[in-house]
Amino acid sequence: MEVPILKQGEVLIATFQAALSDADLNQLRSGLVRQVVKLRSRAVIVDVTAMDVMDSFASRTLREIAHMIRLRGAETVIVGIQPEVAFAMVQLGLTLEGVATALDLEEGLAYLTQKFKNID
């Protein structure tokens, strides 16, 4: 299942629809980086609200996405990690260190707006 990537101004938004396989996650990673380059985006929001499980592979891929996007000079925000998913991640010892997170899409956009304002 491919993750659709929407463009909203200078921000790209990728919304996870359901349980994603490793192949889907890898595809998302290359797709996002390609789009950030092509569209000269300043930020990426990855909305994981619908994600049922965040295991070691998924969290590593999200971390990689954020780091690759940062090397392009853009920002990544992960939004919508569900409370039970967050609890399972902590038990597993998974962290998203160095990656910005926000409660939901709205908060994620607000965070980026603030950030851009400070830079401009």
């Binding site: 349980a19 994603l20 396989s21 490793d22 192949a23 049922d52 499980v53 965040m54 295991d55 070691s56 592979f57 590593r60 971390r63 569900q82 409370p83 039970e84 998913v85 609890f87 399972a88 991640m89 038990q91 597993l92 010892g93 998974l94 260190e97």
Partner: protein, 135 residues
């Protein structure tokens, strides 16, 4: 009491990891686990199935309900005929590092579940059996 039917998911690819954890979540919810506990169980299944795909290429995840003296729970057995784990003690040590390498993730799986048993023979394969009891 008749033995509970067992669900078996053959693990060959990353798609099977998703299928196994979805089956596990469904069974956990049927057994009356909370959504939070069902997520912990599904996450543990995801990690165990991932180890099968990564290290043994193929194997199986078996799921069934279990009955203790006064409680109910779920049993998850991940088995493969892969290369086995030469040093289980080392594999059970938390291998988390800043580089993000997670080793086998087995210590994490043990924390997600209530009971954890591993048997492994180099060259023969690995079996991990984990249980979670309903509070």
């Amino acid at each position: 009491m008749a033995a509970a039917p067992e669900i078996q998911v053959a693990i060959y690819s990353d798609q099977d990891i998703v299928l196994a954890r979805q089956r596990g979540r469904t069974l956990a919810m049927e057994l009356g686990f909370s959504a939070g506990d069902a997520t912990l169980i599904a996450t543990a299944i995801s990690e165990l199935a991932r180890n099968i795909v990564t290290y043994a290429r193929r194997g199986a995840i078996r799921l069934r309900s279990i009955h203790g003296s006064s409680r109910k729970g779920i049993l998850v057995v991940a088995s493969d005929n892969g290369p086995g784990i030469p040093d289980i003690r080392q594999a059970m040590r938390d291998g988390f590092s800043t580089s993000g390498s997670l080793g086998l993730g087995l210590p994490g799986v043990r924390r997600l579940m209530d009971e954890f048993e591993i048997t492994s023979q180099p060259g023969q394969g690995t079996t991990v059996a984990v249980k979670k009891w309903k509070p």
